[in-house]
Symmetry: C2
Subunit: 314 residues, 2 copies
């Protein structure tokens, strides 16, 4: 199992990946041709792509190949559900160093499958090329099942802001790993594999969410995208969040403020949405703020004193 | 215009890219949200992805940013038409070094647009992240417009093999550039920007092509994929090809055999298809071989003496 991808070669490698990836009933032509062909019963697709680069988005010494497969799938599937759609398929393009083991690549494929299979999502094709570091480009699409798409642009003054899913856990895990620790395991695991509340996206659309996005850059940064697209102000109530025990412990150990991780930590892929205040939300949605006239994002009525989330190219 | 992407920042960069990319009427939600939403009138989509890595698939000193945009779009659009579909949309994920100029990125976007616009294809979204070298992942979609998909698996003994488009030109251009030359310009340009016969893909499907693929790895290698998928043998007639003047001249200057470039050169994205021998093909299709019982690919009845095309991870 220490065989290198260069020894196996491209086509045997692709064949070994493909047998690990079951194809669902909407896949009319699966992996192995110039392109895949898929049935799109609703007549509309939701489609998104993300690029993950080794050393920047993951480290092979911090995350297993299976973890990276989970994460690469999850962050794209989260974008699909954040439009109110049910995910249906992935395409995965992979750049790998010639000396990478085939075991790593097959572990990555296993991670993709494990994340996709419970959702009925098929990995319908992809590409494998040589690169100096591992590079992963995932494209995901989904089916709105007759629902309207929930964009970032529909929030209205008077709406409430609600979140579903973890906030700050992946950031806390990253901080823990960065200091050389491997625990608390729950936080480290949250960095390695986001726990995306997939079915909450379609649920929010059905409940009439006026705007929605997944929290990939940090809650305040991502609410800033909704505020900008909707031309409204969003005020977040810092007392609305519950700080989980492992977060509190890790923050104390690292001399950090856990509420800062909650407000600005990315990569948990929670969902943030706005709803008419009259909507009865299920228990997993937590109301954490409100939509007002104006622009920008405030916390407890005032601008946040620190960076609102992940800044790229800085 | 020597501004670096790190100075401009992610979101202004994305905004500057997006204004360059017009959206067609099937785009229901375009760039700037968690995902794009597209109308799929035919109820089926054709989808493919490719990864291009700087230094391996292109060099910034050999190709302009506009060239790279053309090529990244073209190689994916070629996969779509090779299924018999009309391309409709692209997603483009881009990894760029922080010190890359914004001019390069905007030139790349211009190249994408120039390749897509004549086909009515919209670039509906993407991703921009930081990377050590330029990495480009393109996903392309297309619409079969009611036609059946033409896979690699339908060739039958007795069919003819026909090609449409250039063969060996991109390879010749690459050889010329590799020796430090910049001419013949036609060949160098063929390496930089493939001239894909896009409408020949849907045409072949309408004519009843039994199998088809685009020539990305080299004609013999790609016909090998059809032979394997169709469980047939393909014999190529080396006398059927016309060697263009610039190819003959460059081969003479470099001490190469131009027919070797024609048979094994990749990246021109010509189309190769098999048809029932009774089909009346239009003039741009050139019959270059036939389908027989057996397996593998032969040239003039015998196995080809050299590598059949581009080998990955070697």
């Amino acid at each position: 199992m220490n065989e290198k991808v260069a020894d196996l070669g491209e086509f045997p490698l692709i064949a070994a990946i493909t047998v690990r990836l079951p194809q669902g009933p909407t896949v009319l032509v699966g992996p192995g041709d110039d392109a895949a062909v898929l049935a799109v019963p609703g007549g509309r697709i939701v489609a998104t792509t993300d690029l993950l680069v080794e050393h920047r988005h993951f480290r092979r010494d911090w995350s297993s190949a299976v973890d990276v497969g989970h994460k690469a799938a999850a962050q794209n599937l989260a974008d699909v559900v954040a439009m109110g759609a049910a995910p249906t398929a992935l395409l995965v393009a992979l750049g790998v160093p010639a000396e990478l083991t085939t075991e790593w690549v097959l572990g990555f494929a296993d991670g993709l499958r494990e994340e996709c299979e419970p959702l009925g999502v098929s990995v319908v094709g992809g590409d494998v090329v040589q690169a100096d570091a591992v590079v992963i480009a995932v494209t995901a699409w989904g089916d709105l099942q007759g629902r309207r798409a929930v964009t970032r642009a529909g929030a209205r003054a008077g709406d409430v802001v609600a979140v579903c899913g973890r906030l700050g856990w992946a950031e806390a895990g990253l901080r823990v790993l960065s200091r050389g620790f491997r625990s608390p395991r729950l936080l480290v695991q949250a960095h390695r594999r986001p726990a995306v509340p997939y079915d909450a996206g379609p649920e929010a659309a059905t409940l009439g969410a006026t705007a929605m996005c997944d929290v990939s850059d940090g809650l305040l940064a991502d609410l800033g995208h909704i505020a900008a697209a909707s031309q409204v102000r969003i005020d977040v109530d810092s007392a609305a969040f519950e700080i989980a025990g492992p977060m509190r412990d890790a923050a104390a150990a690292l001399g950090a403020q856990p509420i800062h991780w909650v407000l600005t930590g990315g990569e948990d892929h929670a969902l943030a949405a706005t709803f008419d205040a009259a909507v009865a939300l299920s228990e997993r949605w937590r109301v954490v703020g409100r939509v007002l006239d104006g622009d920008g994002v405030t916390v407890d009525g005032v601008p946040y004193g620190d960076s609102p989330g992940h800044a790229h190219f800085r």
